[in-house]
Symmetry: C2
Subunit: 245 residues, 2 copies
């Protein structure tokens, strides 16, 4: 382990922040790091909107299901997958933009995530805490309206960045052997790793909450993938010009 891998392995989400803004200088440094991430065919499909307007932040917090730290973090960034820019570039060369390709959606979404994770590592290395806000996809149309996003742009997630006012523990992960395989997937029905992790996670929750939280991974997954999640996303994305073919 070196200092960087130590930093990577000590990540935890921060949801309580000190009342202290993050300077423009730090945000610029963080965004330059985000831009430095690998990008598919150099498409650079990430656009970041820093939301300073407090009323907008309150409405975003509400859209995200009442996550108040969206308003209290030192900075709040919305990471958007942006094909509008490459469309403009294509048109500058008299090209005709090929709208709605699934492949372009994958490229753009992955691009944003790579850039965001670089932003996160940069922020954490600078002594800041972060929390991703996937909850923006609860009401993506509202978010798009609020930020005046054009077609071919969608908000993938938000990112709270700020000075931590809490010190949560690192959450345990699935066993390494469950996620790292060799040469082929093998035994797609094997649940032994899940069973092990269920125990680990249940113990972690019980210790952390003095016995109050009694849950495990398979229960969490039932709640997440055992129901329709954000069923509006498909139509929302199609309206914005994504995932049409």
């Amino acid at each position: 382990m070196n200092k960087t891998t130590q930093l990577l392995r000590s990540h935890r989400s921060i949801r309580k922040f000190k009342d202290k803004p993050v300077s423009d200088e730090l945000i610029n440094e963080i965004v330059l790091c985000a831009q430095a991430a690998a990008t598919s065919s150099n498409i650079q499909a990430t656009t970041i909107i820093r939301v300073r307007d407090q009323e907008k932040r309150e409405r975003l917090a509400e859209a995200a299901g009442g996550q108040t730290y969206v308003t209290t973090a030192g900075a709040f960034l919305v990471f958007c997958a942006d094909l509008n820019r490459s469309k403009l570039a294509c048109q500058m060369q008299d090209g005709e933009f090929s709208e709605g390709m699934t492949e372009h959606f994958i490229i753009a979404t992955a691009d944003v995530a790579l850039a965001a994770q670089n932003a996160v590592i940069a922020a954490e290395s600078l002594g800041l805490g972060i929390c991703y806000i996937g909850g923006l996809r609860n009401k993506p149309q509202e978010v798009a309206d609020l930020l005046a996003l054009p077609d071919q742009v969608y908000p993938v997630f938000g990112l709270c960045i700020g000075y931590a006012d809490q010190d949560p523990e690192v959450k345990p992960r699935l066993p390494l052997a469950t996620v790292l395989k060799e040469d082929s997937y093998l035994n797609p029905e094997d649940i032994s790793g899940i069973e092990t992790y269920d125990e680990t996670l249940r113990e972690y929750y019980q210790l952390r909450t003095g016995g109050k939280k009694d849950s495990c991974w398979s229960e969490e997954m039932k709640a997440l993938v055992g129901k329709e999640s954000r069923p509006h996303m498909r139509e929302f994305l199609a309206k914005r010009g994504f995932l049409m073919k």
Copy 2:
């Protein structure tokens, strides 16, 4: 700038590797870092397949359009978006898996990219070079067959990791002001940032190739989004149980 942000900002893809394997110890450390990335609702949708079998690597290199470094890198990992595992977990709790949700596809794809970028930063901090291989999506069905991927799992990209045998320059990015906006998107038709970057990139290519490569960003984008990209992806994903609704 600190050492980590310096590392982040000095990324460049490596496509020529020394003939030296990456040890299991390093790969494990890199994968533990990947696992430590934030994950949406703790879904941990990333499965990594390390391909050691040289014949498989040759076939993957071919699928990726003849990218020989897939076979010569010290290690080659395939990053898969995996909902099979959360489906199993859901079923362990007598839940019924909700198949094909667009939202789950976004979660899984973003999850993989966050984990992969952590792996990349870990690898680079350990003195290794990397190259993402999106080209696996040229022939995703072949890749899935070769690695025996079950339904609800798709290969997002590959990752070459190894000891660099070249020292390429860092590629310039779009102007900061073009990708970082405040409070709203504003001027979605503004091409000034693209024009500036076109010049920067053209100069960069000309200097680097002694005048041989004469291209710019808008030309690259025309080639990328001015045509149908990997039009098989939608059907491939639907067949695997993704993006059905």
